[in-house]
Structures are given as structure tokens and as C-alpha cells.
């Protein structure tokens, strides 16, 4: 006879312990999940708002933009426009889940199952996270970053540091390596390397070098375009990396700040590519765990109904003409797809056998799902596993909006035999970060002339940059580069669509 985990809505820390143990039993035993050690922290609503505002990282460095976020969130929270998340989870080892104190016991169970086991398993096993993030080192690195920023503020003044960070933040979405490098990221090592770099500079400093006569400088033509591009590592799409390594007049601490922002951006890169999968996994896991606990009689019918209430809210998908509609809800789509896979694996129809010969009727649900969770990202996951049945169920259709087309927006494909593959391909593409972010890269530096930095934006499907924002970002970029910056928008046939040229602001030049 199993005991109830709790009665009513109240909980204390023993309850939390019991809940976690019970969830763990199901998660590891029944579902065969593989997780980082868990650390559960209880926080208040204010702390939750706080965590929200600093991109979900409670240990983040201080910056005014997080204060702005905080003010914004607080205002809408007070007015009741926004509910707070029940939890925040950090991809680290140990995996830290923040639970709000206002949650009822049922909600805490849901949240523990969702975050401490669902997300946790995904973080530990998905290939993107393995490749791009260092769960062991992140907490220490954040701590290092926070202290480093603080020290810089003491040494070089808050305004200077803020200016550099503002610029770095503007370029954050272009501070990412999209292709895996030679080495795995080791954030613990980063901190030591920063120290060693400084030490090395101090050790090898010798004023005499200044007095050594320089050889005749190479003639301009000596460095060919090809050679120059190679020396500078061009083309380079990681703008922050390029500036850190090649911007001529940045102080060492500024380079280190760029590096920090770049590392943080990189850390979040997998999360932006796996929203649907990550939430789908966590939602599926909490659903399985809660159902199991209910079957075992560890939570009452009342508690289970409460859970179902929240669960239904979370996986609610409004239709496109609903005023609440704002794109696909990753929870809803992810959860629906996970359940659909479960159905295909256990009781496939003929259609499923045709579409998914590999998994249909395989009967090992968790085996298939664990494999999916480990080896796909949103784009490939949808492209591979969105079934005709689910497309029919969600009544998906594809719109093609060409501004040139007078007649209006064309319905390109719908959920029918002819359209399944096209709808699926388009939806997958919508979740491909390669299409979401503008494709901007550094192509050249005019070394022989005025050191102008030249960037190209490869325009896809005629979608150009927003002018005001582009100018502002380029201003930041120019301030860091300290010489002119040119951004050229070219289309697929290399036709120039638009050209921006921005000069650095004088104050920034004085800094360097």
C-alpha cells in the first residue's frame, strides 16, 4: 500500500523531499531517464521576477537592461497581465530548479517532474547541449563573469563598462559559432585562461621592444586579398569573436567582456534551437510521472484534477484566428508530437507504417523517445516526426505571402495528401535558427585604406534589416571597431540592395 505524498495544498521541505523521491523513482525506473544530480531551490515571487529579468540566470552580472526588464515585468505582473512561470531551470550540473513558494503541493510535484527530470534529462542527453554547453562549468563561469564585470567597473568606471556591454549585447545574436569547433568548451578553464593571459602579458612586457628598429614594412600589394582574408579568419559570421580577436584598439578588459557575452550567447544557442523539443520532453515527462503517481494512489483524485487543469492550460494551442494566437505554442506542439510518437510506436495505423517504418509498432516507447531526445533539434525533429495524423488534428496549413502578389496571400498547402510533406517542411524551416537570424558576416577589412570594416548581409527571400535598428547596432559595432563600418545587403545573385556606412562616435575612440 503506497502512502499519499501530501494532503491538500500545503507543503513543507519534507514533502518536497518525498515528492522528489517519488518522481525520481518513476523517472529513473519507469522512464529510464538519465539526469544530472538535482538541486531544488525555493524562491519568492520577487526572486522569480528577478531571475526572469536576468535571462533566467540568477547569478548574472549587473546591467541596467536587466533592471529595465525587471521594471517591465514587475509592472505587468502587478497589473495581472502576466502570470509568473512556476519554475526556472538551469542547464548546469547539478541541475538547479527554482520553485516558487506560492505553488501548491500539486504544482510543486508537477514542476519537479517537469524541470528536475524532464528538462534535466534533455539537457544531459541532447547532442546540441553536449556539443555547445559545459554544464559542469557554467555556474563557476557566471560567478567569474559577475566578479570580472564588477572589477572592471571599479577600475575603468561604470560608464565605460556599460558602453562596452551595451555594444556587446546589441551584437549578442551574432556572437555565436554555428559550427562545432575543434575543442569542447570548458568554461572552468576559461577563468584560468583569462588570468593566465593577463599574467603572460605582464611577464613578457619589455619596454625595449619599442626601441627596436622595424624592418621596412611590406608594400601594400604584398598582402594579397586572399592572404589578408586568411590572416583575419574571414569570412567570419561570429561578429563578437572577430572583434575580440581583431578590433585594433580595444583594451584587454574590453576584449574579455566581449568574450564573456559571447560565451553566454553560445550557452543559450542550443536552447533557442530546441524550444519545441525541450518543452515537449519536459511536458511529456511530467505527464507520465503525474499519471503514474495518480495510478499508484500517491496523489488524490482532487490533486490530479488540479494538475490536469494546469496541464491543459500549458498545452493549449489557440487557432490562428483566435485573438490569443501568437504562433505555435512549443509546449503544445512538443507534447502533441511526443504523444503522437508514443501512439505510432504502440498502435500504428497503416499510414503510420508507411510514413514511419523505422519506429511504427516497435513497442519500446521510451527507447524511441530517448533516442529522439538525444539526436534531434526542433528543425530536424519536426521535419522527421510530424505525422499526417497530427497535421490533420491541428488542421495545419501553409500560407505564402509575397508582397508582389496582388491577389493576396496564397494558401500554398493544407493538411491533405498533397500537402503533408510541404506543410511539414515549412514548419520545420520555421524552427530553423539558420532562417530566423539574419545571415551577416564580416567579409573584409580595408587594411590599405581607411581600415573600414565591411560586412555583408545575405538577404533571403527579400527580407531586409529594419533600418533604425540596423543603424543603431552598426553604431555600436563601429564604436568597438573604432573605424568606419559598412554593411552591404546583397541578395542571392550578389546584387547590392542597400548599403549602410557608420562612423564611430568620437567618445568611443577616445576610450581606446
Amino acid at each position: 500500500m503506497t502512502e499519499r505524498l501530501f494532503e491538500g495544498a500545503d507543503w513543507d521541505f519534507h514533502t518536497l523531499q518525498r515528492i522528489t523521491d517519488a518522481c525520481e523513482e518513476v523517472a529513473l525506473g519507469d522512464l529510464g531517464l538519465d539526469v544530472y544530480p538535482n538541486q531544488i531551490e525555493v524562491i519568492t515571487a520577487e526572486q522569480m521576477l528577478d531571475a526572469y529579468s536576468s535571462v533566467g540566470m540568477p547569478l548574472f552580472y549587473k546591467h541596467w537592461s536587466f533592471g529595465k526588464q525587471f521594471a517591465y515585468h514587475e509592472a505587468s505582473y502587478r497589473k495581472g497581465l502576466m502570470g509568473l512561470a512556476y519554475e526556472i531551470v538551469i542547464n548546469s550540473s547539478p541541475c538547479i530548479s527554482y520553485l516558487m513558494e506560492e505553488n501548491t503541493a500539486t504544482m510543486q510535484t508537477l514542476v519537479i517532474a517537469h524541470a528536475a527530470f524532464g528538462h534535466n534529462h534533455f539537457f544531459k542527453n541532447n547532442y546540441l547541449f553536449k556539443q555547445w554547453t559545459d554544464a559542469d562549468g557554467i555556474l563557476d563561469y557566471l560567478d567569474f563573469a559577475k566578479n570580472y564585470v564588477m572589477q572592471c567597473e571599479e577600475r575603468y568606471g561604470r560608464t565605460e563598462v556599460e558602453r562596452t556591454l551595451d555594444a556587446a549585447h546589441a551584437l549578442m545574436s551574432h556572437g555565436i559559432d554555428r559550427y562545432p569547433g575543434k575543442k569542447k568548451l570548458d568554461l572552468r578553464e576559461e577563468e584560468k585562461r583569462a588570468g593566465r593571459r593577463r599574467q603572460h602579458e605582464e611577464e613578457v612586457f619589455n619596454d625595449l621592444w619599442r626601441t627596436v628598429p622595424k624592418g621596412a614594412s611590406k608594400t601594400r600589394s604584398a598582402i594579397s586579398l586572399e592572404r589578408r582574408r586568411k590572416l583575419l579568419g574571414l569570412p567570419q559570421e561570429n561578429l563578437l569573436y572577430f572583434l575580440e580577436k581583431s578590433a585594433p584598439r580595444l583594451a584587454p578588459w574590453q576584449r574579455e567582456l566581449l568574450r564573456i557575452v559571447r560565451h553566454i550567447a553560445q550557452y543559450f544557442y542550443p536552447q533557442s534551437q530546441t524550444k519545441v523539443m525541450n518543452e515537449g520532453t519536459a511536458t511529456y515527462v511530467h505527464y507520465r510521472i503525474m499519471t503514474k503517481l495518480h495510478q499508484q494512489g500517491r496523489i488524490t483524485d482532487g490533486n490530479f484534477l488540479e494538475f490536469l487543469g494546469s496541464h491543459t492550460n500549458v498545452v493549449f494551442q489557440p487557432e490562428f484566428d483566435d485573438p490569443r494566437f501568437s504562433g505555435f505554442n512549443p509546449y503544445a506542439l512538443g507534447f502533441a508530437m511526443m504523444q503522437d510518437i508514443e501512439r505510432i510506436v504502440t498502435s500504428p495505423s497503416d499510414e503510420d507504417r508507411e510514413w514511419f517504418p523505422d519506429i511504427a509498432g516497435k513497442n519500446d516507447v521510451m527507447g524511441v523517445l530517448r533516442d529522439v531526445w538525444a539526436n534531434y533539434r526542433d528543425e530536424s525533429f519536426i521535419g522527421q516526426f510530424l505525422s499526417p495524423k497530427l497535421m490533420r488534428h491541428l488542421r495545419m496549413f501553409h500560407l505564402h505571402d509575397d508582397p508582389e502578389e496582388r491577389a493576396g496571400i496564397r494558401v500554398d498547402a493544407i493538411h491533405d495528401e498533397r500537402g503533408f510533406r510541404r506543410v511539414r517542411r515549412e514548419l520545420a524551416r520555421q524552427h530553423d535558427v539558420g532562417y530566423i537570424d539574419a545571415n551577416i558576416e564580416v567579409v573584409d577589412v580595408d587594411l590599405s585604406g581607411d581600415r573600414r570594416l565591411i560586412l555583408h548581409h545575405h538577404v533571403i527571400k527579400g527580407s531586409q534589416l529594419n533600418e533604425t535598428d540596423a543603424k543603431r547596432v552598426l553604431q555600436h559595432l563601429a564604436d568597438l571597431w573604432t573605424y568606419d563600418v559598412a554593411l552591404i545587403e546583397v541578395d542571392a545573385s550578389d546584387k547590392v540592395l542597400r548599403e549602410y556606412v557608420v562612423s564611430p562616435r568620437p567618445i568611443a575612440a577616445a576610450v581606446a
Binding site: F397, R410, I414, D416
Partner: protein
């Protein structure tokens, strides 16, 4: 697998306050402008409440490369009647997107909530109280504890170990207490010694050293020092604010409202500078009386006008209850400017001889009817009188107000932070 459950709630709240302060500092001029604008529309009571302000996003913008326009493809759920090849009419330019903070165009305004303190701080930021010299220490209001050196007696909890050990060390050196290794060396020498006689001598020496060690203790009660604390009175400045108002028939509701706003502002302002602020309400017609706030603003009264009666009443109250050497005295008088001509001389005398010498600050606010410009009429009798006094060197501040919206500018104007030199030049 071990699971750690940690209660983080006990950590002090407001961790994001630092970020918030940074944000406010950065947006200071914008927020300040917004605060002033908001407060003009508000009721005086609400000015204190803090609340929502809206600032333009310019300068607080966090730009990103964003793409727009071009051909768009989208997959949507919930198809009802479309079939492949249908064309949908474009409705306007697409619905407005939700925008988070900082997204969207720079014209967007950014709304957020300021706390009460933040609001008042920003609101009064560039104001200063004139003549703060006479800050008085209140009787026994507050006492603080302060470190004050060391003492030879005290409670064991207050023992200063480092100081004690230092003294003990000095004493041991001064009295030449044998060190432990000296004794050990001697003992070793004795053990190694073969010569009987020499051994005797050494033993005697050892004996002597040991006796000395016993005589001179490692730590003597004499060495012990305690940390000493002293209670010091904390200065608490106190102020009293006199509100004088003419409530004769010629004062309309609108005028009273203006006066009330001014008093409230002054109160908020004083409250921020002094821990204790007392308010005395004196209303007058042809005779004056001290009343409570409710009566002051709303109680019906009628009669002639004798300003001197109010000044006399204030003078008496000061004499009875607020010793000028203990209190900072502020006074604000509001009136429509009527006064009977026979009263002018007495008023002038009371003011220059009795009132102004004890006041930090005396402001006269002449309120007028809404719509009527304060300046196109000929000066009222009271204004003429005060102006004369001021020209002969009396420290009076005077302003005319006829619209609600003028209250804040006038108030700002009165308490504007000025160069000290100027202040002295124009007493």
C-alpha cells in the same frame, strides 16, 4: 542520487534593485520629466504614492539586427475552410506585434512602476531647503552605540583578544619571561651533560628559569582589555510647519484647493528632511484660531479679514510650544491678498519683529481665481505690503498662483537649489 533542497527565500529581497537603480540612473532625466508631468495631473495625496510612469524609449533602446518585409511563409493551425490555391485578402498591414521591453519602434513608450520613495526622491531631487543651519537635537529621541577605544573592565563577550595578547606579549618581553625553547635547550644540555659540577650549575639555572616562568604568567588579568562602547545621542532634527490661511468669504473653493496643494507639497518636502514634522493649522478671518486639518480646509467660516490676527496667533503658539532654539520653523501663508487697510501697519510690524526672526523660511502664496491671470490686476493690499517689507530686506518669499498646474513650478522655483554665494547676497 542525493538531492539538495535549498530554501533561498531567506536571502534578502530586492536583489534586482541594483539593476533597477542602474536603469533609473540611466533614464534619470527621462524619468524625472515623466514624474513631474505625472504629478501635475495627480491629486496631491497621490503624489506620495509613487506609481506608474511612462517614459519614451529613446535612449533606453537595445537594438538588435531585425529583419522585416520580404516574402513570408508561415504554417498555422486551425484551418477551417481553406483549400490549396485559395487567396486571402490582406487585412491592413498585418496586426501589430506584441512587443516586449525594448522591442518595437522607438516611439513606443515604456511604462513601469516607481516605488513611493523613488518617486518622491526624483520629484524633489533638485530642491533644497533654505537655511538649514538651525538643526536642533531633540531631547532623547534616539541613541546610537559607537566604539570608543578599550577599557579594563567589561563583559567577557567584549574581550578584545588581539589587544589582550599584545599587551601580554609586551609584558612578558619587558619582564624577561623565559621562553619555552630556552628551557628546552637547557634541559637538552642537562641531558647531554656529563660533568657533575656543570650539571649542578645547569640544574640550578633551570630551577631559576622555571620559578621565573611561574612568577610571570603567560596572560595576567592586568593584560585583559575589553572593547568599550559608548552611547551617543543621534541628532534628530525637528521642524514645525505653520499653515496660515485666510478663510474669509472672498476665498473661493478653488483658491483653497491651490493653497492645500501647496501645503501638501511643503509637508512632503519637510517630511523628507526632518524626522519630526509638526503641522499647525491657523485659519483666520478677522480673528484667528488654531484648527485641525479638516476644519482648516473644509470648515465654513465668514467674516472680514485681519491678517495680523493670524500672525499674532502664530507668535503666541511659537512662544508657548515651539522654542525657536529647539525647532526649525517654517511658515506658509496663503491668501487672496485682501486685508483691511488699517491692519497693514500691525501686520508689517508683527512680521518683521516677531515672526521672521524665528522662522527659517516664510512663504507667501497669493492665490487667484482660475482663468484670471495673476499679473494683469493691480497688486493686492497684502502683496503691496509684503513687497515693501521684502524690499527693505525682510527674508520673505512670495509667489502668485492662479492655476493648479502652476503649483509645481512655483514650488520648484521657491526651493530651487541656488548657489550659496547668491543666497548670501540676497538674504
Amino acid at each position: 542520487m542525493p538531492i539538495h533542497i535549498i530554501d533561498r527565500r531567506l536571502n534578502p529581497g530586492g536583489k534586482s534593485l541594483e539593476n533597477r537603480q542602474r536603469f533609473l540612473r540611466r533614464a534619470k532625466s527621462l524619468v524625472q520629466g515623466a514624474v513631474k508631468k505625472t504629478s501635475q495631473e495627480r491629486d496631491i495625496k497621490d503624489v506620495l504614492e509613487g506609481g506608474e510612469v511612462t517614459i519614451p524609449l529613446d535612449g533606453m533602446h537595445e537594438p538588435r539586427f531585425r529583419r522585416e518585409g520580404g516574402t513570408r511563409d508561415m504554417v498555422l493551425p486551425g484551418n477551417k475552410k481553406f483549400i490549396e490555391g485559395d487567396y486571402l485578402q490582406r487585412s491592413g498591414q498585418g496586426s501589430a506585434k506584441d512587443s516586449g521591453p525594448g522591442e518595437g519602434d522607438s516611439e513606443d513608450a515604456f511604462r513601469f512602476v516607481l516605488s513611493r520613495d523613488e518617486f518622491v526622491d526624483l520629484f524633489l531631487d533638485d530642491l533644497e531647503l533654505p537655511d538649514l543651519a538651525k538643526r536642533k537635537i531633540a531631547q532623547t529621541e534616539s541613541e546610537g552605540i559607537q566604539r570608543a577605544g578599550y577599557t579594563t573592565s567589561g563583559s567577557p563577550a567584549n574581550i578584545s583578544v588581539s589587544r589582550t595578547v599584545r599587551l601580554a606579549l609586551a609584558r612578558r618581553i619587558a619582564l624577561k619571561r623565559p621562553r619555552k625553547d630556552e628551557i628546552e635547550e637547557l634541559e637538552a644540555a642537562i641531558a647531554a651533560c656529563t660533568d657533575e659540577d656543570e650539571r649542578e650549575v645547569l640544574l640550578a639555572q633551570l630551577e631559576k628559569l622555571k620559578a621565573k616562568t611561574k612568577r610571570i604568567p603567560f596572560i595576567d588579568p592586568l593584560d585583559i582589555r575589553y572593547r568599550r562602547f559608548e552611547t551617543v545621542p543621534r541628532p534628530v532634527a525637528q521642524a514645525v510647519m505653520f499653515c496660515l490661511m485666510d478663510v474669509s468669504g472672498s476665498m473661493s473653493e478653488h483658491m483653497k484647493d491651490l493653497a492645500k496643494r501647496f501645503y501638501m507639497l511643503l509637508y512632503v518636502f519637510l517630511k523628507r528632511r526632518y524626522k519630526h514634522v509638526e503641522i499647525v493649522f491657523i485659519r483666520h478671518t478677522d480673528r484667528a484660531e488654531e484648527v485641525d486639518e479638516q476644519t482648516f480646509f473644509y470648515g465654513p467660516a465668514s467674516g472680514g479679514t485681519l491678517v495680523s490676527s493670524a500672525l499674532q496667533a502664530m507668535h503666541e503658539i511659537v512662544r508657548e510650544r515651539f522654542n525657536p532654539s529647539d525647532w526649525n520653523i517654517y511658515a506658509a501663508q496663503a491668501s487672496d491678498g485682501d486685508n483691511s487697510y488699517s491692519d497693514g501697519e500691525l501686520t508689517g510690524m508683527l512680521l518683521t519683529d516677531k515672526i521672521l526672526p524665528v522662522c527659517q523660511f516664510f512663504a507667501y502664496l497669493e492665490v487667484g481665481e482660475s482663468g484670471g491671470s495673476a499679473f494683469d490686476l493691480s497688486d493686492s493690499s497684502l502683496w503691496t505690503l509684503y513687497e515693501r517689507l521684502r524690499n527693505s530686506g525682510a527674508p520673505l518669499s512670495m509667489r502668485k498662483v492662479s492655476e493648479r498646474s502652476e503649483i509645481f513650478p512655483v514650488f520648484h522655483d521657491l526651493f530651487q537649489r541656488r548657489e550659496t554665494a547668491q543666497e548670501k547676497a540676497a538674504p
